[in-house]
Amino acid sequence: MPLTLSDAVRALIDGKNFATVATLDPDGGPQTSVVWIGLDGGDLVFSATEDRRKVRNLRRDARVSVSITDAENPYRHTQLRGTVTITPDPDKTLPRILSHKYLAEDPPPESADVERVVVRLKVRKIAGNVK
């Protein structure tokens, strides 16, 4: 059963904070990258393109851990572990939302050939000092 996120964790996701997403490489080793995040219907979401290693990894193995640090105070952080679902974003809606959230501007133009997806986290376990 996915967990419902507390107000404190939702605030971290909603804020202009950066997240580190950890996925599993084909050989079972860890891979990390940094992303913008958003709160959608109580879930953490982020945007990515099909060609990225994290997306290829997550399609093979949906297990993930997302670390979010509070930009105002890096000693406040949360670690959200769970699995993801990946859905197409053909209108490239999420990158526009996130670019406005973080930079108050449109994202740079992107070719229609570039396939955007929405990655949505289902949280199973929470660690860190913000729970």
Binding site: G29, P30, V34, P74, H77, A127
Partner: protein, 131 residues
């Protein structure tokens, strides 16, 4: 000849930034946590405690991924994938050194059963803007 850090990567680990470390759990899933760290030549050092989840994970499987971004400009980030080498020697000295780097003072005293260890991450692959 091992993998070396370029100037941008060195700056990220030399600065007061908060790397996220990903390790592999016993069931093959991935977990993340936030650490203080310093650079030691072309390796990264951080301190943890024997018995903690990340330490047990690294003892079982030394493959790690460290991502760090510049708190002042989070779009500058680097991912270091490599292997962790763990030693007891110098653990307390390292946590004090890191505490001074980040907080300007020694770390709080810890009871003798808390065994601080040094984790040295030897990079095998570096990606991200700074690479």
């Amino acid at each position: 000849m091992g993998v070396t850090f370029n100037e941008a990567t060195k700056a990220l680990f030399d600065g007061k930034n908060f790397p996220v470390i990903a390790t592999i759990n016993a069931d093959g899933s991935v977990q993340t946590s936030v650490v203080w760290a310093k650079r030691d030549g072309d390796a990264v050092l951080f301190a943890t405690v024997r018995g903690r989840l990340k330490e047990r994970n690294m003892q079982r499987d030394p493959r790690v991924s460290l991502s760090v971004f510049d708190l002042e400009d989070p779009l500058k980030y680097v991912e270091v994938r490599g292997r962790a080498e763990i030693t007891d020697e110098g653990g307390r000295e390292l946590i004090d050194e890191l505490s001074n780097k980040y907080d300007g003072k020694d770390f709080r005293p810890e009871p003798p059963e808390v065994v601080r260890v040094v984790v040295r991450v030897v990079p095998e692959k570096i990606t991200g803007y700074a690479s």
